[in-house]
Symmetry: C2
Subunit: 193 residues, 2 copies
DNA sequence: AATAAAAGTGGACCACGGTCCGGTTATAGT
DNA sequence: ACTATAACCGGACCGTGGTCCACTTTTATT
């Protein structure tokens, strides 16, 4: 029987192409902005067929998530096991504030990509989003919030949606500080007094 | 100089085609569901060219908004000038609760269309959504909520987003009553105690 | 009734996301 | 080295949303 020897169950040529594709995508975004990121162009710049691109990343959302993967992992690691106030060690209320602030700041540079990755009917079911809500729910419970905590997590997460945040900053021209202050107010409303 | 005589600045043939197109769209949605609502099919069933369809409604979102227009106008009229508790006359807190409940119930039958109409980067800037947020902000102010009321309206509206609501009901299988109770809890958090 | 301009019309055309499948290549076992 | 097979590859192809523009129809004016 045949077995794979690549470290991730991925053949060497496939791994090479994944690298080429990601590099091409990064170059396109840096040079021409996220709106020019089309699947055809990525494949073309990588010198690879379109089928390969879709086999590697599933769809455009998957490609964008791969692009965001590094900073996404960093972010997850930070709030799951990093230093306070984002990570464990601080009071849950402080961690909630830090979580929102970090999310909002992340939108400054990656807002458009994040929005693209978060739109579509299935986005809310994606593991990354689930993890965020789970984390929010956990902190709320730790903080002693009563009632339907699961829904409360959805309510908090809804405000941190990249589509909302980008609209607020670009269309409504609200500075980050205001969005962060708004988040802190919101969090305070959820904490028991 | 030429002038239009149609009541809405629309030529007779154009009005006829608008009617045909809307009827075709309604038929398609009723018969085969919203996912089968393609612009080509609508034009074909209406016996009209695609260019005409796009001239009338701008884009697919515009067509869907036109489909939702009737119930949307009813809803707006209800909370702007209808009977309490949705309309003026009731306490602002009660009106807020009624607003959310009505929004959530509307999603039961029109969720998928509403979601389609609300996705995309420009949806948050659409007049309908602006009006909703304005209304929420007004009620919050009337209720004596302090702080950044404008952002608070965004925070409330974010939970009533059709994408969120549909996900909650269909993916997470939450009953409407729970979503409504969650809304009431949320509203309570925004009211001064 | 004739006229001219504004408004409307339709379908060819385009870009993009996504699928499919016959041919190719890397890999494990011999 | 040879072979079998799973994984990979590329690009032709499709559906959909949206644009474009030469042609037709309505309408106010005369």
């Amino acid at each position: 029987m045949l077995r794979l020897s690549g470290n991730d169950g991925e053949r060497a040529d496939a791994a090479r192409n994944r690298r080429l594709l990601l590099e091409a995508a990064v170059r396109i975004v840096e040079l021409h902005g996220p709106e020019k990121l089309t699947m055809d162009e990525v494949a073309r710049h990588a010198g690879v067929g379109k089928g390969t691109l879709f086999r590697r990343f599933g769809n455009k959302t998957g490609l964008i998530q791969a692009l965001l993967d590094q900073s996404g992992r960093d972010f997850q690691a930070a709030f799951m096991s990093g230093p306070p106030p984002l990570g464990p060690g601080a009071a849950p209320g402080e961690r909630l504030k830090a979580f929102g602030e970090a999310s909002i700041r992340r939108c400054e540079f990656q807002g458009h990509l994040l929005r693209a990755a978060q739109e579509g009917p299935e986005a809310l079911g994606h593991p990354t989003q689930r993890l965020s809500r789970q984390h929010l729910g956990l902190l709320l419970r730790e903080a002693g919030t009563t009632g339907d905590v699961e829904l409360a997590a959805y309510q908090l997460a809804a405000y941190l949606n990249a589509g909302v945040l980008v609209h607020l900053t670009e269309e409504r021209r609200m500075p980050q500080e205001r969005l962060i202050a708004g988040w802190n107010e919101l969090v305070k409303r959820f904490l028991p007094r």
